[in-house]
Structures are given as C-alpha cells and as structure tokens.
C-alpha cells in the first residue's frame, strides 16, 4: 500500500501537473469530481487559446476553431458552477482567467488590419461619410460662411488681412502687392523640389487643422466650428487679395489642384468633430459616454479616410501642381478630384451600412 503511494508520488513528479491533478479514484469531494469531469475541456480550450494568442492561427485545425465557442461556453458555465459549489480558490481563479481569455477571442475584433482595410475602401468609408450627412451640411455652411466673412472683413478694412492671415502665409502676398508678384506666386514654380514641398505639406497647417477639428469635437463641437470659420476666413481674405488684381480664377485654379481634396478633407474632419459634439450635447436615450463612443467610432472611420485624403493632397501639391502650369488644366485636375471624391462618397454604395 505504502509502496504504491510512493510510486504514485514519484510518478507525479514526472507527469505534468494539470493532467494528473485529480486522479479519479482519489476524488473524495464532490467539487473535485466535478473538476475531473470537465478538466479535459478546460485544458483543450487553454491550448487553443494559447495557440491563438501567439498568432499561430494557421496551425489551428478547423475542428478546434469550431470548438472554440462551445468550449468557451463550457468554461463559462463551469465557472458559475464552481463559484456556487467549490471552495478551491485556485480553481475559480483559473477558470476566471481562462473564461476571460476565451471571451476576448470569441468576442474580439472580427477583422484583421488588412481585411478591414479592404472593407473600408470598398464601401464602409463612404457609408460612414454618408452617415454624417447632416453634420457635413453644417460644416459646409460654416466653411462658406467663413469664406464670406473673411472676404467681407478684408474688403471693408484691409487691416483685417494681417489679423486673419498668419505671417507664415503672408510672405509677399499682402494687400497692395503688385499683379506681377502675385502672378509669380501662382505660376512658374516648376523648379521646386517636389519632395520638400510634399514633406512640408504633410505636416502643414491643414493637416493640423483637420485633426484638431476632429479632436476638439468632444468639447461639444464648438471649437471645431470656430476653427472651421477661422481657417476659411483666411481663405476668403486671400481670395479677396487675388481678386483685387484680377487673378481670382488663376488663384482658384492654383488652389484647386490639391485644394479640392484638402478642403474636402477639412470639411469631413469638421463634420466628424461636429458629429461627436452633437452626440455629446444631445445624447438622446443613451448616456453621454455611450453616445460619444458610438459617434466617436463612426467619426474615427471618417477620420482614417481624412488622413488618406491629406496624403493624396500632399502628393498632388508636391508634384502635380509643379507639373501642371496653366489655369484650365489645373481647374480640370481639381474639378476631376472633386467629382471623384463626391462620386465615391455619395454615389458608390456597394455593401456596407453605416
């Protein structure tokens, strides 16, 4: 008798602990017999979860993948039974972590980064944009108002120009500049290094403005609205300046080549900010936090696209503007981009619901 016990003890040193944790004939407690019956499922779930967590999804058999939700539910129910019937604290703690880990997998993100990106371009982005419909109208109205305000203010008193346009822009483009100087800022810049223009543009004022528009949305959207107005007032002031020398159309052409993309991006960013702000100010039946989270997720989708649009705008500014040097062709490129974006967002409706 003693020798067999000894043999079992020594045998126990060499087998892995969990497998022989409860030897059948030894389980005196009812809770231990319960553990014995379920233990196989738990260790199998543990193995599957461990393999999935280490990223070796491919090596997982279909059988195991199908078994995961079932095993997860087994573990969850084992946990609630163990809590009611067993006082083995280590066992309950183990089941808690195991259930938690499996829960993360069963209720985890369904898409990898790549498959998400494909779905994103293939309909979810435009659906999210359409979901902001009302906010886009508000942002558009604010931007138009901003341009008008800028123009009118400067027209009434040119001093406003210096207040609206920061020194970074107003190098030689100031009220009273000659037509030649202004014309020179628009044409004949082919020698510029495309790469440095691009790099400067990527981290430019506009990229910052669009991200700020989104980020400040959680202050009920008010800073977003102010930012939109302030920045388009700048645009209005410059429009007025070039109009004064009869270069309005040329300026618009110069701007449109990347501006249609960029202003569109700012518009969407502003709309996202307003969307979040509106959700927080008028959460309806949901709590403020939940409303902000729901709006935040949709707005974040739009913002991911905005970042892509800003990259496109930077490439256009860095290269296309240097290569295309006449107003009609510039307007064509800009107009084409505008039509392309609008069409993509509002006419392209394959799959995806917002």
């Amino acid at each position: 008798m003693a020798s067999s016990a000894l043999a079992r003890t020594i045998g126990g040193w060499f087998t892995k602990a969990p497998q022989q944790a409860v030897a059948a004939e030894q389980a005196a407690l009812r809770s231990d017999r319960f553990r014995l019956e379920r233990e196989g499922d738990w260790t199998r779930l543990d193995a599957i979860v461990t393999r999935m967590e280490s990223g070796r999804m491919r090596k997982l058999s279909d059988e195991d993948l199908l078994a995961l939700p079932v095993l997860y539910r087994t573990a969850a129910s084992s946990l609630s039974i163990a809590r009611e019937t067993s006082l083995d604290a280590a066992l309950v703690a183990y089941l808690e972590t195991l259930t938690q880990r499996a829960w993360f997998l069963v209720y985890g993100p369904r898409a990898s980064l790549w498959s998400w990106f494909k779905r994103f371009l293939g309909g979810e982005w435009s659906a999210a944009v359409r979901g902001l419909g009302f906010d886009i109208l508000v942002a558009l109205a604010l931007m138009v108002a901003g341009v008008a305000v800028g123009w009118l203010l400067v027209a009434a008193n040119p001093e406003w120009y210096y207040a609206l346009v920061s020194s970074g822009f107003a190098d030689e483009r100031v009220p009273g500049a000659s037509r030649e100087v202004l014309h020179g800022t628009l044409f004949g810049n082919q020698d510029q290094d495309g790469m440095s223009v691009f790099a400067a543009q990527l981290f430019s004022n506009n990229a910052r403005v669009s991200i700020l528009c989104f980020a400040l949305g959680f202050a009920f959207g008010l800073p977003t609205m102010l930012l939109l107005i302030q920045n388009t007032a700048l645009l209005g002031a410059m429009l007025w300046l070039y109009h004064g020398q009869g270069l309005l159309l040329d300026f618009i052409g110069w701007l449109s080549i990347h501006g249609t993309t960029e202003l569109f991006a700012i518009l969407l960013a502003g709309a996202s900010g307003i969307h979040i702000g509106r959700a927080m100010a008028f959460p309806g039946n949901a709590s403020v936090l939940d409303a902000a989270a729901t709006a935040g997720r949709r707005a974040a989708q739009v913002m991911t696209g905005v970042v892509l649009m800003l990259i496109v705008a930077a490439i256009l500014e860095g290269f296309a503007r240097q290569l295309v040097d006449s107003t009609p062709s510039r307007l064509t490129v800009g107009g084409f981009m505008l039509v392309a974006w609008t069409g993509y967002f509002f006419a392209f409706r394959r799959g995806g619901k917002a």
């Binding site: 016990a5 944790a21 409860v22 809770s31 604290a89 209720y107 993100p109 691009f198 700020l212 991911t304």
Partner: protein, 319 residues
C-alpha cells in the same frame, strides 16, 4: 437610513486584504457569467507606451539607414534635376508616407490581433478591451481600436511636436509652446481624473485597458493521501470532529490554501500551531503539511456541504 452616494453604488464592501479592489470591475458576459476585470495600472500603461515608441523609432531609424546604405551602394543620388533624381524623390515620398503609416499601423495591427496588445503592452501584461456598457460586456470592434489610436495622436504627439517646434523656433512663439505643453499635460493626466482610468481615446472609442493575466491550472489540494487524513510520513491519522471544523470559515480556508500552495515551512508551522491552539489539539512537530492538508480537505468538505444546503460561513466570526 444611510445615504447611498450615487457614484459608489454597487461597489462591494472592501475587505482589508483586498489591495486591488479599486481597480476591479465586474463585467457580465453575454452568457450571463460575471467576470472580474482588473484595470491596468497607469504605470504599466505608461511603460507600455514608452516601450512601443522605442521599438517604433528603432525600427524606423534602422530601416531608413538600411535603405540609405542600399541607395548609396547602387549609386543613386537624390540631388540634381535628372530623371533618376526625380524617381528617387518619388521613392522618398513613398518612404515618408510609409513611415507615417507605420506608426499608426503598428498600434492598429497589434491591437486588432488575438492578444489585443502591442508588444509593449504584451511585456507589461495588459491589453485593450471593450468597455462594459452598463455592466454587460461588449465586443471589441475594429472601429473602436482605430478610434482610440487616432486620438492618441492628438492627445500626445501633436501637442509635443507643437511644443518642441515652438521651443526650437525661439521666443516669439513662447505662448504657443506653453499652450502645447498645457494641452499635453491635460491629456496625459486625464486618466487620473476618472474612475476607470480612461485616456481620452478610450473615452471616445469605448474601450479600456485591463490586465491580461494567465494562470496555470493548479493541482487540487484535496486529493492527496494526506488529504484523506493519513500522513504519508508518520502514518498518523488526522480526523477532525465537526466541532473542530466549525471554528473556521471560507476566508480562513482560502488563507490555508494559499499557505499550502506557497509551501513555506515556517508559515505552515505557524498556521498549524494556531489551528491546534484554537481547536485544542496537540499535533507533533515535523508533520505540519500532512496535518494542514487533512484539515484543509475536511474543512472544505464541510463548508461545501453547507454551501449545497445554502449555508455559508464567510469567516470565523460568522456563525
């Protein structure tokens, strides 16, 4: 009648042993099983962020250096106006875009994976999870992960860039620099001012960061020979009467379990002596483990039987 403060509603009374109580949140899974989640400590989150940043910057610098070496080796030149230089500039642009996307993709790729954690988070043992709405758990969505990482740019990187560029430019942009710093500090300390330690990105995305523990299934303590009352070493029989077992409750049982699992000699001797004093036994020294295992198994059997009949004894003070 005591006034219940609304924001303390539903919190379990704290036992003196429980250091983690402030960080614990109960979430009910869709199956209706309550699961405890432990919010990550702020230190662990900061450490994870720094680790990730170090890895990202390291990878970027390393890759750029390698590419520059390769370009040099092939004999390409970025300067000049010839078509080759233009092609190089275009490649340079692509590289800038790649680096820009890399930093964001790093967080997204790893947090969307099965671990829900970047390498930095993995090292510090934490992960991202969907915040419970009400008390029921929700699915962590791709959009939520994207949202929380987009906002990180605005919270941390942008104001810092703002601050440093203003600082480098000189004195006339002092105010902007300080505004950037204040902005950064507000968001950096945001997790200190809410109960769930949410960063702004967590707030927007509906996520929180929790600890991701792993545990092995431990050996059952109640199945050895000693647990049946027979000491393997001395052959002594330990049988406790109902009165001997009635003095302790569930809390003491768990302390005893911990002592047995830690398996430290002096702790076991102390506990064995305490129990002997309490129930009026005198067990010889040298056989504490067998004694304690026997007491543990029999106490657990008694308490579990009580549980099945709806009688629970929380600790030695309760009847």
């Amino acid at each position: 009648m005591a006034i219940a403060l609304p924001f303390r509603k539903g919190r379990a009374p704290r036992t003196p042993l429980d250091h983690e109580d402030r960080r614990r949140r109960m979430v009910i899974t869709p199956e209706g099983v309550p699961l405890p989640f432990l919010l990550a400590s702020r230190g662990a989150r900061a450490a994870a962020l720094f680790l990730d940043l170090a890895m990202i910057v390291g990878a970027m610098i390393g890759m750029t250096l390698i590419l520059m070496k390769v370009a040099e080796g092939v004999g390409l030149d970025v300067e000049g106006k010839n078509p080759a230089a233009h092609a190089m500039q275009a490649l340079g642009v692509l590289w800038i875009v790649a680096l820009f996307l890399f930093r964001n993709a790093w967080f997204l790729f790893f947090e969307l994976g099965a671990r829900g954690a970047t390498p930095g988070k993995r090292i510090t043992g934490i992960r991202v999870a969907a915040r419970a709405s009400g008390s029921s758990g929700a699915r962590l969505t791709t959009e939520a992960v994207i949202a929380r990482n987009l906002v990180r740019d605005i919270e941390l990187f942008m104001p810092l860039v703002f601050f440093f560029s203003a600082w480098a430019e000189g004195s006339d942009t002092d105010l902007a620099g300080w505004a950037g710093l204040a902005w950064f500090l507000i968001f950096a300390f945001f997790p200190f001012f809410n109960r769930d330690r949410l960063r702004c990105g967590d707030l927007i995305a509906g996520t929180w960061v929790v600890e991701a523990p792993k545990r092995k299934l431990e050996q059952a303590l109640s199945t050895g020979t000693a647990a049946r009352g027979t000491s393997a070493e001395t052959g002594a029989q330990y049988r406790f009467s109902d009165a001997d077992l009635a003095v302790y409750g569930e809390m003491e049982l768990q302390v005893l379990e911990r002592v047995l699992r830690d398996s430290r000699e002096e702790a076991m001797r102390d506990v064995a002596q305490t129990i002997c004093r309490k129930i009026g036994w005198s067990a010889g020294s040298g056989d504490e483990r067998a004694f304690l295992e026997a007491y543990y198994a029999q106490l657990r059997a008694r308490l579990e039987t009580g549980m099945r009949f709806g009688r629970r004894k929380a600790n030695k003070h309760s009847s």
